[in-house]
């Protein structure tokens, strides 16, 4: 009897699988209807409650609107926006937030999830990291004001360790205030990244790790060549969400500096809020919203376009 070559063998075995796949991929009327029904709840909710109001916002960005009267101004709102020097600072701050958020919570979350995963006391360490994520915004705001104000906890420590040193104004000097707020948001957000990476670590089949260990992959090698590639689907989620959330940063800044002093620590989300609700320039606020959305969609598109290919 002749021995089959490896390719012949594989193709023989593949045939039934291909038949099955064909039937699973068949698109007839019934299947299309089923796909539609499965998609309906999510698409209807997002379409009606999120996308429709946003289309209204795009429409309003072409109007001069003070809440009482409304007149068509075309691109005037956008032109004024780009000419405003405060807008440049706002874009720069937003960029700092994106870089800071990608560098700190994502990286720390990955290292701490991998580091604590197989530790017996790992869940205790993780709990202290996750705790801030469970706390409410008002508690976070009060405590970081405690830490960063001029007679606050951080300066207490500095006075004790190094008497005579004059600490800087943590929340009053740019760019230090933005950096400090990025650190505060790292404190709050790292736990979320840790949880997501834990979900990813759980999805790795134990056999994969065992096989790699039998092949002599240990420590850093195991991490680099086995664990990290296996974590890719969840890393896409963590990085994707971090890009979006950092571009939309609002709460932490609103609660700690209100974008001040002046408008120095404003991000785009705060500029939008100030234009709309403080200055009642609804058209201008809508223009910032549209600009911000275009930036977030573009950044997400560039990152996710390649990462989402699965089939």
């Amino acid at each position: 009897m002749e021995l089959m070559t490896a390719t012949e063998f594989r193709s023989t075995v593949r045939i039934p699988a291909m038949i099955r796949r064909k039937s699973l991929r068949r698109r007839d009327g019934r299947t299309t209807l089923a796909v539609g029904l499965f998609l309906l709840p999510a698409v209807a909710l997002v379409g009606v409650l999120l996308i429709a109001p946003f289309l209204d916002t795009i429409y309003r960005s072409f109007y001069n609107d003070n809440g009482f009267t409304r007149s068509w101004v075309g691109l005037h709102n956008y032109r004024t926006l780009v000419a405003d020097p405060a807008f440049g600072r706002s874009v720069l701050n937003t960029l700092m937030w994106v870089v800071g958020t990608l560098a700190l919570p994502v990286l720390l979350g990955l290292l701490l999830a991998v580091g604590t995963y197989s530790l017996r006391w790992g869940s205790i360490a993780r709990f202290s990291l996750i705790l801030p994520y469970a706390l409410s915004g008002s508690a976070t705001a009060v405590v970081w004001t405690f830490v960063l104000r001029s007679d606050g906890a951080l300066n207490d420590i500095i006075h004790t360790l190094a008497p005579g040193v004059t600490p800087p104004g943590w929340l009053t000097e740019w760019p230090l205030n933005t950096v400090m707020m990025i650190l505060a948001s790292t404190w709050q957000g790292t736990g979320a990244a840790v949880i997501l990476f834990m979900v990813g670590l759980q999805a790795i089949p134990p056999e994969t790790i065992e096989a790699a260990q039998l092949d002599g992959a240990l420590g850093r090698k195991l991490l680099w060549y086995v664990t990290l590639p296996q974590l890719r689907p969840i890393t896409v989620v963590v990085v994707g969400i971090s890009i979006v959330n950092s571009l939309k940063t609002f709460d932490m800044i609103w609660l700690l500096t209100q974008g001040g002093p002046g408008t120095e620590s404003e991000t785009l989300a705060l500029t939008m809020y100030r234009e709309t609700f403080t200055l009642s320039r609804y058209g201008a606020g809508a223009a910032v919203a549209v600009f911000l959305t275009v930036v977030v969609v573009a950044a997400s598109w560039i990152y996710l376009r390649r990462q989402l290919r699965t089939r």
């Binding site: 299309t32 089923a34 997002v46």
Partner: protein, 270 residues
């Protein structure tokens, strides 16, 4: 040696992370009368109960917690279910243009929240959904679907196709394949998505203060904000005590979730 360094770094990070949380707890225990303006490092008394009582008396925090429990539990559940159905349709079923549908749902997390506020407020007023529990629940579900969808969808791509193929061969329909195979296999992602959405809804302030006013609709963070509005009259210890009590459900939820990880950890420990 490497292990010692790694473990000490983990301990260091854990302790560093605890410092602000510690300050919250300690200062929630400080009696308002003893509060000097700067933060305390040690608890001087056990005033937490009386501070919390003041917070509950000054506002409707108790009622708000009940409302929020309903929004967060039900809203999180419905959102995760809708997200799982959509993920299944795009990952397993032969959907046309899966990438386009992905973006239609995912764009919901991208749009800046503050941009919805005035159109939503006007729409809600017209449809008389403003200041109703249905209205709150509806917007929370919609806001939570995109993120849950992203998490669950990416997790489902790691489930081998052969599972669905085998079920299909055995004559299982789509719904059965979804309920019996993909839903149980995505358990950890579904659970993580639910926890995130529960926490998000629980901690939401923006939509709570915009779309509701009456005490039997208002979520807990909106009622707590009334307290922060009276910052000078009640003082930070009362605000912190109220916030601490209001955060207990999410803290308990995360703590329970941790045990879920420990249990599965034993399976992989060797």
């Amino acid at each position: 040696m490497g292990r010692v360094i790694r473990n000490s770094l983990i301990v260091f990070a854990a302790v560093l992370w605890l410092v602000p949380s510690y300050l919250i707890v300690v200062n929630a225990f400080t009696p308002v009368a003893d509060y000097t303006g700067s933060p305390n490092w040690y608890a001087s008394s056990m005033a937490l109960i009386s501070n919390a009582r003041k917070a509950f008396a000054a506002t409707n925090v108790g009622h708000g917690m009940l409302n929020s429990l309903m929004y967060a539990a039900l809203g999180g559940l419905v959102a995760v279910l809708a997200a799982a159905l959509a993920s299944f349709a795009l990952v397993v079923m032969p959907a046309r243009r899966p990438a386009a549908w992905f973006w239609i749902i995912y764009v919901g997390t991208i749009l800046p929240l503050q941009a919805f506020l005035s159109p939503l407020f006007n729409g809600y007023a017209k449809l008389s959904l403003y200041d109703t529990q249905y209205g709150m629940l509806l917007i929370y579900v919609a806001l939570c679907v995109p993120f849950a969808f992203f998490v669950v969808r990416n997790y489902m791509t790691t489930i081998p196709r052969s599972m669905a193929e085998a079920a299909h061969m055995d004559g299982a329909g789509w719904l059965r394949t979804f309920l019996r195979i993909h839903l149980p296999l995505s358990r950890s992602a579904l659970m993580a998505a639910f926890i995130f959405q529960f926490t998000w809804i629980w901690n939401d302030l923006l939509f709570g203060i915009t779309l509701s006013t009456s005490p039997n609709v208002r979520p807990v963070m909106a009622t707590l904000a009334d307290l922060t509005g009276n910052y000078s009259t009640v003082g930070p210890p009362v605000v912190l005590a109220g916030a601490l009590i209001a955060s207990l459900p999410t803290i308990i939820l995360f703590f329970t979730f941790q045990r879920f990880f420990v249990r599965s950890l034993r399976l992989t420990a060797y």
